[in-house]
Symmetry: C2
Subunit: 341 residues, 2 copies
């Protein structure tokens, strides 16, 4: 297949960027009737034949070695992460992932032990979250490719969409931000400094991330969540996405800084706010909760060993601002985006 050299006069994947490419392509996809989740949400959900109330929930997301996997990351970690990033989208919708398929593109020189590590990592990611690898496809590629597809079933009206936030709802997250972005910088930049303990903590959050599935399932069961998204594109991007899908704004009154991100930022001259708001590659849930249900929601998440941190509220005013001690600052609509790096 010809992929001609880029002509600067024309749009290309590089000049368009990931989000514009998706918008461009979906214009050409005839919409399926009766979908339970709009195109572009964390997952897809289609009616199960003969059952009006139940939907099949589907998600695919792919890791490509040269762009998504730092050189020092192992095969087990890469394969497990490819599963976890898909499970995280299920967590955001409050759906149990059940079956997983994997399309693998393998370089010819890949060693047997690497193939075994890939298989073990895929299985680990699936079993940690109660799912199974049920099939897939293996082919040849110049770059290592791990394309994961996840299936689960849900009652249609129980799905936590991006679109239900109302002014006055509490804005909350399931953990602190910026650790994965800091870990990635440690992996990519030899000049970055950190104590051994700090380095291990941050790099582990990049290489061995966890999806907030228990939290998402508990919150779905409670029915307290009005909108929800997973934070893989960064906290700032998530806020803009929830706001735009729900028709609200957000006032953020507390930034979910992690102490070790502050320490890393200080040591290396980074802005901790930049790492926390715009870092991405994190698998927390960002969601809004009906204020009447807030205490019950916190208790439910605590009961499964998680935490729910209040960071602000949804507003009628459709801006997205950080407001601390009366000082306002716009939160920009940017985050990690393929092709634009």
């Amino acid at each position: 297949m010809k992929t001609e050299k880029e002509n600067p006069q024309e749009d290309s994947a590089r000049t368009l960027g990931e989000h514009a490419i998706i918008e461009l392509m979906r214009n050409f996809f005839e919409p399926m009737p009766d979908v339970a989740v709009p195109f572009g949400d964390d997952v897809s959900a289609v009616p199960v034949a003969h059952l009006k109330s139940e939907v099949a929930v589907l998600k695919t997301d792919m890791l490509v070695a040269t762009t998504d996997i730092p050189v020092s990351m192992g095969m087990w970690e890469a394969a497990r992460k490819a599963v976890v990033m898909n499970v995280s989208d299920f967590a955001a919708k409050g759906v149990q992932p059940r079956a997983i398929l994997v399309s693998l593109g393998l370089p010819r020189s890949l060693k047997r032990e690497d193939i075994v590590d890939l298989a073990k990592g895929l299985n680990a990611g699936a079993r940690e979250y109660g799912a199974y690898i049920v099939g897939g496809d293996t082919g040849e590629a110049s770059d290592l490719i791990i394309a994961v597809c996840v299936y689960g079933a849900a009652v249609k009206d129980s799905l936590m969409l991006r679109s239900g936030a109302k002014p006055g709802d509490i804005l909350a997250v399931t953990g602190l931000f910026g650790r994965s972005a800091a870990g990635l910088r440690l992996l990519l930049d030899n000049k970055c400094r950190a104590s051994n303990a700090l380095r291990k903590a941050l790099v582990d959050s990049t290489c061995i991330p966890e999806a907030r599935l228990r939290e998402g399932l508990e919150l779905q069961h409670l029915g307290a969540v009005t909108s929800s998204i997973d934070s893989s594109d960064g906290l700032a991007w998530c806020l803009h996405e929830l706001a735009s899908q729900s028709g609200v704004g957000f006032k953020v009154s507390k930034v979910p800084f992690a102490d070790d991100v502050k320490e890393f930022a200080k040591l290396n001259g980074y802005d901790p706010l930049e790492l926390t708001l715009y870092g991405g590659e994190e698998y927390e849930l960002v969601l809004t909760v009906n204020p009447k249900e807030w205490q019950a929601a916190q208790a439910a998440v605590n009961a499964v060993g998680g935490k729910l941190l209040r960071i602000g509220e949804a507003t009628v005013d459709r801006q997205i601002v950080l407001e601390i001690s009366g000082v306002k600052q716009e939160i920009q609509a940017r985050g990690y985006e393929h092709f634009k790096g």
Copy 2:
């Protein structure tokens, strides 16, 4: 991620080959209980929550430009083919594909018009077979990658597995073989000769293949099929796979040669039997039919504009032989396999 240079002392993807890699990996996947289709069949099928008789049917298969897509093939054709090859596996199981997700890896230099052609090709492939594109993922890759995942629903006991052939069953195919393999040689080898009409016919069968979905759905409805597989790995490979899964052998008494494959082979010094038995990249169904149902099966396939060609029968003797006019010849267990080229 490190993918170290190959050491000839060690097994690698190249020395193992696609089938050994899949066998190696599945040892590490904890089996899901209650799956309706064994690992390694054309599709996966898992029980739908709360419903014992209905299963979610899933399949993923990936096209990678450098290994799977000839240089002269267009983006529309490549994208459509990536969908069709997955639909073909649904056809072999007798299941209507309903929803499709696509993970795309795009080179940075890919032009806007190429992206549009990809989207149109994906949609065309889906809509031709009654399915819809419902979601996906877009990322950056050095090579163009199209990983397709398909969902459908089926009644568990209605699935046409690879494992039910019995001695005496009629062995049949839904069309002639070798055209796609001949077309691929025309695309890859400038020295191959063919008249314009022959070239177009053969190249079209490589670039714009059709899945035998109507045939598969009709045959499933009739309940006459005892085992079934799609022929993407080549006719010979399919026969060995059906035989090994069913515990039978096959005597092939008629080779499904296409006239234009004979013409192409004669013009270019190829063995037409090699192209027909071992070519691959074809999307016919290879299946066994209960002899009592043969006429009904043929009539049902004819009624939807297809054909069902009898090429032999299943035998107690577990060999797989071609026997014409008393001359026997073993059909080998080989076909198209990644990494081994």
